[in-house]
Amino acid sequence: MRAICLYLHIHQPWRYRRYSIFDVTHNHNYWYEKDYYDKQNNERIFRKVAQKSYHPMLDLLERNLKRNPGFKVSLSITGIWLEQAMEWEPDLVEQLKRLVSTGQVEIVGETYYHSLAFFYDRAEFQNQVKMHSDLIAKLFGVRPKVFRNTEFAYNDELGKWADSVGYKAVLAEGWDKVLGWRSPNHVYKVAGGVNTKLLLKNYRLSDDIAFRFSDRNWKEWPLTVDKYQNWLNMDTLRGNLINLFMDFETFGENIWEDTGIFQFMEQLIYSWLNEYDNKFVTVSEAAELEQPVDEISMPETVTWADTERDLSAWLGNEMQHEAENTLYGMKDAIMSSGDADLIDDWRRLTTSDHPYYMCTKYWNDGDVHAYFSPFDSPFDAFMYFMNVVRDFEWRIQNLNQLKNHQ
């Protein structure tokens, strides 16, 4: 028996607009850019990605789920993606409901706001995980049993937490430096845990699709289904479970339709299932596929980003640290304000995409493609972020004054 565990991550941040210091105290609209064609306009971006990726890929998945009872897929969907979908493309949510009701689709748990709260504020982290679970239960009638943290940021602490609250498994990066001679194609246990399993991304085979598929300088271009299936078969020699974990937007947005990515996927599903004893599994099924072969420890945080596989794209420079420290530093004041709008605005700012836009790792090299951002520069991203934070401070003070007045 050989199994593919296909897992796709669906997320869009609430990008803050170019919020000027002259807006502070006057205008609390951070998320709705009036100019539709502006780079920070969330609605335009969402509709664009919906048209290029969400609609065609969900159609593809739905078609194949109906056609092949053996086809399974796991999805993680952030709360703020669902908010935006309900606002502008409610069809997508309806379609997702249909998908989940087939029983072949599993929803993976995470923070509602796609935040790095785990590393700053454990109580807030748990709150956001619960908010997410509640929303998933409300919309889809199921509660996530498997967890992934934002950007796959995993360490032993997170594993222990997931074990203590009873998750079946956690998803993480199958990074060579951690695995050593071991293969990502097995089920592992979190270090020091009781029940919780660890599912590790097979990053080579995942990235062949997610990053290299459209790269004409790649010596394997063009990637055909035959060739890829051959690689899959070879790889199962070191374990029967192949974890293909990637962003949902890989299909259609990161890799455009004209590269043939959709046809590739459609054929791959068909031809994989066509072979004897091959199957697809959801993340929960993958966790039960075999007894854990070993325990894996990651004392340092490992992510699925860059060659470093660390958090340096989010927390690498001084601006990013200042932004996050200031933001989490004001949490108590925000929460005790009791103002639901303010709390929601604050939480939207915890989304990890925001510090990512401030990344300067390759900025001097002029490698603009390495880090996509709606802002002209990481410095602009930081500047507008801090202006929003200043407005939060003003709102807290103002609320206190109002309270005292009453």
Binding site: R18, S20, I21, F22, N317, E318, M319, H321, E322, T360, W363, N364, G366, D376, S377, P378, F379, D380, F382, M383, M386, N387
Partner: protein
Amino acid sequence: MLGWELPPHNSGGLGVACLNLARALAKDGCDIDFVVPYEAKHENITFMNVLSAMKLDPLFRYGVGAYDSKYVDNALIPDAPHEKMISIREVQHNYCDFVNDYLMEYKPDVVHAHDWLTFEAGVLAKKNYGIPLIAHVHATEYDRSGMHGGNPVVHAIEREGLMLADKIIAVSQATKDLIVRKYHIPAKKIDVVYNSLDEGFLKSAYSYDNDDYRYLEAMKALGYTIVSTVGRFTIQKGLSNLMKAAARAISKEPKLIFVFAGDGEQREELIEMSAKYGISKNVIFTGFVRGKQLRDIYEVSDIFVMSSISEPFGLTALEAAHHGDVLILTKQSGVAEVIRSCMEYDFWDVEKLADEIVAISKSPALKHTLHEGIAREYRKISWSDVAEKIISVYNEVEKHKEFS
């Protein structure tokens, strides 16, 4: 090589760029005869021959009243020495005569002409002697006149030089785009070669003492942020937008001081504006500064703003970076094409400029990140890189040679 000035007889960046460029080219094995229109000693220049086109005091190389007739000049300055009262067009004609005589005797592999001042002589070499012509554009008449109008005679000379040149070198992509757009030259004929920092500037001994700007030092100690700009006070530099932004920024962050270093026809207008906005106390005009006083300004400032509406390159930004300033540049300045660790804005976007000034002054983290980035970046282009690119252009045009 055809130029108009070399240090110390220079009034601006053109002479400095020519000197550094020629030095780097000579180092790479080029034999250079450099023609200037005036007669003066250049004792420090040993790597090339400097040829004087005519007996002329360096001070008069731009003529007296470039565009005026003799009669007007005589009426305006009756005491001036009449034999020296020569217009720039006459200087240029004499310059062309000299170049013509020179070419009767010598046949260089290539003629490299800097800006419209020497383009006529370059065209002459191309037309009469079949020598490949490189037109090097440091600025066009459009830049000098704030994108509108300008002197039609200068435009005509620029257009002829650019049309007949075998290759054009532009100091930035912005300049290249302008040459394509305004002079209708095919883009493939133009190469972009950025300038680098003056080697004399980098090497010369400099140490900061706070004698000149004690007041600013005292204000810094009180927590003020010093924002400076350096340049001619002309429409090209966009300084009235900087003044508007200063007023807006001060309304959010009173601990700001703006230093306007330089002089020019907008000086009174700017002083009046600062009074009108009620920020005179936060705005300092130094007048024209050079040498150590200029470098002290760079040194004492935290932020350097280049507010130009159009700036072919903008070497002062690199000089300020050398002295540790963080940079705010208009997207319309050439230097912004090579520097990434800076904040940018469109020259008309006063609100964004104010935002950026306030953000840097309020956040040490932002200032520090910008500072670290620019320290790594500002010397990434060297003059030897520049020379290498230019020699490849020379090699490209050599096949155009008609006589040898």
